[in-house]
Symmetry: C2
Amino acid sequence: MVPQRRRTAGEAVKAIKYDRKLASIIDHTLLKTDARKKDFDRLCEEAKQYRFQSVCVFSGDVEYVAGKLKGTRVIPIAVVGFPHGQMTPVAKAFEAHDAITRRGAQEIDMVINVSALKSKHYSLVLDDIQQVVRACEGKTVKVIIETALLTTVEKICACCLAKAAGARYIKTSTGKEEGGATVEDVRLIREVVGEELLIKASGGIKTREFAYELIRAGANRIGTSSSVALVTGGSGKGGY
Amino acid sequence: MVPQRRRTAGEAVKAIKYDRKLASIIDHTLLKTDARKKDFDRLCEEAKQYRFQSVCVFSGDVEYVAGKLKGTRVIPIAVVGFPHGQMTPVAKAFEAHDAITRRGAQEIDMVINVSALKSKHYSLVLDDIQQVVRACEGKTVKVIIETALLTTVEKICACCLAKAAGARYIKTSTGKEEGGATVEDVRLIREVVGEELLIKASGGIKTREFAYELIRAGANRIGTSSSVALVTGGSGKGGY
């Protein structure tokens, strides 16, 4: 046995092996009602350490994390109308506009009005997204369609309306309903929106293998609270 | 043999047996490049005689038929952007506005921009329909989606966008492509738009039986050039 020199703390951090490519498309997410400042501190530290794309939090928490992330490349994202989406379009747009213009959010993940979609009130679903897109003044808007609650026809309609309204991403799920991202849904969304729009897969993504499957199916961004485990654990075989 | 008194001309007309209920939802259609005045005269005469819902003609012919139909309950309909739909939204809206405000059209059957739909340029498809709806100042707009050219996803998107844009009807076909109305498409359209929007089945409807099938599947209006044959011929068994 060859005796090994003990690493310094600095060397230990540098030596961490993790999937940098995967990390670069992960929205590191914390959406818990009982989260504390220290939880957000840790979220931001991890995001900086693993170079995640962003941190994703409630609009009421985005100002705090935006402060923590100042001077880094990590993007602060605020969810809006989360998780039920059934506020009025003006209220949802106000929440988005406030987050973007006064709280440091650089992207918005909004939830559609699922109830209006199910009532086939498509003009309201459209107007709701359009108002948020306008309120975000050119910043990226992701439209959460909550796939777990929708029929195939409803998923297609939601994607079509989101694209017509000028959204940049379709996002599968809030993560608050049973059933999150699936490979089939990512494929269906891609079929509806084409190559121009981007897809964020989210909800129940707890392993690296599953993240890769979703990426191969067409996902461009991964939303998860298991980010550190995803980029450090698992075999990651196959890549993307 | 009992000798029969010969009918007078007036009695003969009154004695015609035809399916009045079916006639009342038929758009009696003439969309031929080489149609002459006498063809439109006959179209209008038949529409009055059989009490069809309307006559449906090119926007350039609607003023003439509107004159012929004055004082009757038969509605003059103009098709717009027919049959390819690939003019600009402003041009399509202008054609519709002119037909409604100056040529006596009471309803507009517009063709969507199929090419834009296939390119997943949903905002253009939406804007195109919205502009026509606005130009028609509250009059009924039917949106022809040309089902024969579309995939299932495209049919769903077209219906969803047409409803979001404020159309009153989805219309299946121009009748100029191979493949017109089908029972399956009428059912699919109904699934997408719900009960509020109406459906006009058109294209290749040449028998009364087929018309009934479409009506049972959810069609509210029938567009055909075989109107007289439809209401006078066939067994019509089953009804609707």
